[in-house]
């Protein structure tokens, strides 16, 4: 690991000031579950790290009207254990409970996961399918406008996610086919039924990151059942391929995981 200057922020406002002062080679760190391994491999060389770990105002879960609002620095373990999340959006608590392993869930955060936008991370599928709103220290960003391809988001330099607001759906389910070593999703599908229709978020599969399966959404909006999407899957040429799974296999898995997610949604 290359060395860097380390700064611990005490609040979101303090982090904003510190990352601005650090200039373009400064980097924010949330739980560090992706960033620290990246630094170890010397794939990143920030001059300064601004650690959000001490920003208490960024952690916590609350129910506001018909939404569950999760602070950016809330760990996966806290989301999984939250009675509010379990009660309002059970599929989201279940998703958090199956990210990585217990030790990773004790450190990793929702804000870090979403800001990193790993194409195989779990949270982006939920954010997209539930039509969540990403709240930053500067603005609110709709999920549909946030994810911009692999590891790319709408965040501007120095912009900090403060919370994610999830509207409570009528029904929701998430099922993934995990890589047995990393627990990342080879394919993960989040299905949400809301008053405004059905949304399907797919992670792990697409060759430009998380995406919505619009044809499945149309079919499921008419008939919310696994039968309605029998045989449907996205085109293989839009899928990712690697040593774990070919594009054709991933395309097939999207259909299988989507049907299981609907069953899980009940």
């Amino acid at each position: 690991m290359y060395n860097f200057e380390y700064q611990k922020a005490s609040s979101a406002a303090d982090a904003a000031a510190k990352i601005k002062a650090a200039g373009e080679d400064g980097k924010l760190m949330a739980g560090g579950m992706t960033l620290i391994p990246t630094l170890k491999q010397r794939l990143a060389q920030p001059s300064a790290l601004v650690d959000l770990g001490g920003a208490k105002d960024l952690a916590g879960i609350k129910v506001e009207g018909n939404a569950v609002v999760i602070g950016a620095m809330t760990t996966h373990a806290a989301v999984a254990a939250s009675k509010d999340v379990q009660g309002k959006i059970k599929a989201l608590a279940g998703l958090a409970a199956n990210i990585g392993d217990r030790q990773v869930r004790h450190r990793g955060t929702i804000g870090g996961s979403i800001a990193n936008n790993d194409p195989a991370a779990d949270y982006p599928a939920a954010v997209l399918a539930l039509g969540a709103t990403i709240v930053t220290n500067q603005r609110k960003i709709a999920a549909d406008d946030f994810f911009k391809g692999m590891f790319e988001t709408a965040l501007q330099p120095g912009e900090i996610i403060t919370a994610v607001s999830f509207p409570v759906p009528e029904k929701a389910g998430y099922v993934k086919f995990p890589n047995p070593a990393s627990r990342y999703a080879v394919v993960g599908v989040f299905v949400a039924k809301t008053g405004g229709g059905v949304r399907v978020g797919v992670t792990g599969a697409g060759n430009s990151g998380v995406f919505r399966a619009h044809k499945m959404e149309e079919a499921l909006s008419k008939d919310f059942s696994a039968k309605a999407i029998e045989g449907m899957h996205p085109p293989a040429d839009a899928m990712n391929a690697d040593i774990h799974a070919s594009a054709e296999y991933r395309a097939h898995l999207v259909g299988v995981m989507a049907k299981r997610a609907i069953a899980a949604a009940g």
């Binding site: 060395n3 560090g32 620290i36 990585g100 217990r102 004790h106 627990r183």
Partner: protein, 155 residues
Amino acid sequence: MPTVNLTVNGKAVSANVESRTLLVNLLRENLALTGTHVGCDTSQCGACVVHVDGQSVKACTMLAVQADGAKVTTIEGLANGDTLHPMQEAFRDNHGLQCGFCTPGMVMSAVCLVKDRPNITEHEVREGLEGNICRCTGYHNIVQAVLAGAKAMGR
């Protein structure tokens, strides 16, 4: 170099470390607590698991400076003098190890996993140990040890 102040196994500790120093290196190299092992160094294997403020974490994937102000417990801090912690005793009774390299991490993960859960199921133990890899045992005796340790800790 930044100074970190933390409590390790109940003792106040202060050290000067580079920002890039990992918690596991602070423990092993500065404090000579070599019971915490480095297996993979890529956050997969769990040989480096310690407790930070009561929660199991992988010490190879946390910076020492992030632990400033924290309470850290390592495998050396579990026993009470010559009396083994009930989970350590359970690993011995059930022969929950072969070469022993993964054992410190297994025990630390297990203690955190079963805390206040004396009736944890075998399935829950197996899922809870997903982040700890053992290349010798096939896990059977480890799981038996953790179940027995959970019961003993609940007494």
